[in-house]
């Protein structure tokens, strides 16, 4: 690593190189018989979730509980995958889609229309999907069934638990 020369690490008898890097062993350096940094050695898949920086076990000193919360939140927001079930009245099987893959409502609706072979029609705030028998609705966190399109897209993605294409019988 670049800064090793300046810091004269030999004097402090520390090595911060990657595990397995051959290092001149000055007198007194502890026998390195312990396992290496497992994250970087054993599991190649892990590398994608962490940058190439060397990691030391237990550093920075953050409680595991806190670290797990951060990690969980990061993977939720990064690796995406807001998977929700989609059902349509009259169709025996359900589908599952990843809301994160869409940038907005038009894309989502087009995909639903393709998937279930129907036409939702035009959406307008006042009348919803006025020209259609089949209406896309979603169940939100409170358990209520809402019309798709009413709330801002990001809010929809975080609050949508599942989708249902309903026969809009009142229309």
């Amino acid at each position: 690593m670049a800064f090793q020369g300046e810091l004269n690490l030999e004097a402090t008898e520390l090595r911060l190189g990657l595990p397995g890097t051959p290092a001149p062993a000055p007198a007194g350096v502890r026998k390195n018989n312990k396992r290496g940094l497992p994250e970087l050695q054993d599991d190649p898949c892990e590398e994608s979730t962490r940058p190439a920086k060397t990691q030391v076990v237990g550093w920075p000193p953050i409680r595991s509980y806190r670290k797990n919360c951060l990690q969980q939140r990061k993977t939720e927001s990064e690796s995406g995958g807001v998977y929700v079930k989609v059902s349509m009245d009259g169709v025996p099987y359900l589908r599952k889609i990843d809301l994160k893959l869409y940038k907005g409502y038009p894309q989502l609706l087009k995909d639903l229309e393709d998937m279930f072979k129907f036409k939702a029609g035009e959406y307008c705030e006042r009348e919803g999907y006025s020209r259609s028998e089949l209406v896309p609705a979603y169940e939100d966190k409170d358990g209520d069934w809402m019309l798709v399109g009413d709330v801002p897209w990001n809010m929809f993605v975080t609050s949508c638990k599942r989708l249902r294409i309903m026969k809009g019988s009142e229309r």
């Binding site: 402090t12 396992r35 940058p51 609050s159």
Partner: protein
């Protein structure tokens, strides 16, 4: 010696509540020892292996409140293998068998099984208070037993525990007759909660002062809860996302305005920044704000929020607030006493960071600061000296530079002088955590000036045994010393064996101590347990799954370096629950 009858002395002792003080008065004379021990109700055991439960009960038969700590502090950072110990079950069994009138149990870093919780709930008729901090080993089934059987329960406080969710609907098991709750904190639980049951529970708990919920509790539910509990003083929010134009949100805003007693706010485990203005009305009363788990709030929103919080005394925040954000804190929060800045992206590239600038700004603005935990990307000696001059009242000072051996970026020097200034200026300093590039000098300063120091955490620091020896010689009040990855060896370990009997514990990992020295120390000091922990044969996965431990014995080569050593004074002798990878010499 006594001019007053025992009952009078007992009344006087009632006013002496701190356990250190009670320990002191018990040493005055035999009669005071007797009166004190028979009247002590609150017992604190800092190391669960330092004494057996039976001895505790024998000495303090009137015990009503038991506080125990288990694993060494570095267990928080995965340095202690999973199965090391710290089980509470034997304590509960002993207390239950002896029929003491236990009302309160407070545990930190202990392994708590469902069995233990079930035994607690069925053994103590007057049980009122369960506080678990950083514990593990239990599931929601154990909570079910506590909820169902502890009819007088006032406090159920779960802080940062690893709890397995078994979908037990534990909250539903509080009986309709349960109306005594004062504190309910389940923010660390990962699973779903029956919202209606929670709302009903809150509605029938008029004494509820602290409520911290988990992510499963929606904003909608929060609104209903707050309308039932306007007397709340401490609120932990779960999910805070909703359409700001909705009726629910409008109702929430009005409900919050009615909550005039809230002085502590935390949580926001899931949050949409555009919802935050709803809480501005309570900000002016806040003395404590913990947003360290609120990953969804960008710096700009944090700053807007902080501007409303003029009375803050305690602030826990993420480093995404940035140096600029800390400047706002410094100018707004003149009463600030405790600040913790956590890393939002500990292994990341460091886009949003705090540096020494943020801390310096705080030191100029918040003169009452006495407790600090600061994760940052860099620190300079000049900054630390400035902070030391501005804030001489530090009792706890913990600095963590994310790159553990980073020098002062301005001068390329070690940070000895900076930390030296801190210990010299802060005469009441009790707890110190070091980081950055450090030589033996910093330890010389600590030994010279840190007269009140009780706990010292060292990582990647020092150049020779002298460093540790300075500390052991100088810090008369030292109780806990924990060291990792530092070049302290046998000479340091054996410099003053008697010192360890005045301390609670010593942890040394990845240092230079040999097996031979540890054995010598154990032989010399029979009142110490010197544990060698050797999990080096295990891979991480095996360690986590508890597989194939290697039996550690004292038969190795004496010159062999010991990877992890933990020693502590004890009256209980070597513990009988040590796993295979722990050897008590």
């Amino acid at each position: 010696m006594n001019y007053f009858p025992d009952e009078v002395i007992e009344q006087v002792f009632d006013y002496v509540t701190s356990h250190q003080d009670r320990n002191s008065i018990s040493l005055v004379c035999k009669s005071w020892y007797r009166i004190e021990r028979l009247s002590r109700q609150r017992v604190f055991i800092g190391n669960c292996y330092s004494i057996s439960p039976d001895k505790v009960i024998e000495r303090f038969p009137a015990i009503r409140s038991l506080s125990l700590k288990g694993k060494p502090h570095f267990a928080d950072f995965n340095l202690v293998p999973y199965d090391w110990g710290g089980h509470v079950y034997p304590w509960i069994v002993a207390m239950a068998k002896s029929k003491v009138n236990l009302e309160e149990i407070r545990l930190k870093r202990m392994v708590v099984s469902d069995e233990s919780l079930e035994l607690i709930s069925s053994s103590f008729a007057n049980f009122t208070s369960l506080v678990l901090v950083s514990c593990e080993g239990f599931t929601t089934n154990g909570l079910k037993a506590v909820a169902a059987n502890c009819s007088l329960l006032r406090e159920l406080d779960l802080q940062e525990n690893e709890v397995e969710d078994h979908r037990s609907q534990w909250l539903n098991h509080f009986p309709e007759s349960s109306t005594s709750l004062v504190t309910l904190n389940f923010s660390c639980l990962k699973g779903e909660i029956n919202l209606a049951a929670l709302e009903r529970l809150v509605a029938r708990s008029p004494n509820l002062k602290t409520l911290r919920v988990n992510r499963a509790v929606t904003l909608d539910s929060l609104q209903k809860i707050l309308s039932w509990a306007p007397q709340l003083m401490d609120l932990g929010v779960g999910s805070f996302i909703h359409d700001p134009d909705s009726e629910t949100f409008y109702k929430l805003k009005n409900t919050i305005v009615q909550c005039k007693s809230i002085t502590s706010l935390s949580g926001f485990l899931e949050v949409a920044p555009y919802c935050l203005p709803a809480i501005y009305p309570v900000c002016s009363n806040l003395t404590s704000l913990n947003l360290s788990y609120a990953l969804g709030i960008p710096a700009s929103e944090l700053i807007k929020l902080i501007r409303h919080c003029k009375r803050l005394q305690r602030l826990w925040i993420l480093d995404c607030i940035g140096d600029k954000g800390l400047e706002v804190v410094a100018s707004n929060c003149k009463d600030l006493q405790e600040l913790r800045v956590f890393p939002s992206d500990p292994f990341g590239a460091g886009n949003t960071v705090v540096t020494e600038e943020g801390l310096v700004a705080i030191s100029f603005g918040c003169k009452k600061l006495n407790s600090l935990l600061y994760f940052c990307h860099q620190m300079t000696n000049a900054a630390l000296i400035t902070v030391a001059n501005n804030c001489p009242n530090f009792v706890r000072f913990r600095l963590c530079i994310l790159d553990p051996t980073k020098a002062d970026p301005l001068t390329q020097q070690p940070l000895d002088e900076g930390f030296g200034a801190i210990v010299q200026s802060c005469k009441g300093l009790k707890r110190l955590s070091l980081s950055g590039l450090l030589t033996d000098m910093v330890f010389l300063y600590i030994g010279m000036y840190a007269e009140q120091l009780e706990m010292l955490s060292v990582a990647f620091a020092g150049k020779s045994d002298k460093g540790m020896i300075y500390v052991l010689n100088g810090c008369k009040k030292l109780r806990k010393l924990e060291v990792r990855d530092s070049p302290f060896g046998d000479a340091a370990l054996l410099a003053d064996p008697g010192k360890y009997e005045t301390m609670r514990s010593l942890w040394m990992s990845s240092c230079e101590v040999t097996l031979g020295a540890c054995k010598a120390l154990a032989r010399k000091m029979p009142m110490l347990n010197v544990e060698i922990i050797d999990d080096s044969e295990l891979t991480v996965d095996e360690a986590l799954c508890g597989g194939a431990p290697v039996a550690v014995t004292a038969d190795g080569d004496d010159k062999q370096k010991v990877e992890k050593m933990y020693l502590y004074r004890t009256l209980a002798g070597p513990r009988n629950d040590a796993p295979e990878f722990v050897c008590t010499l």
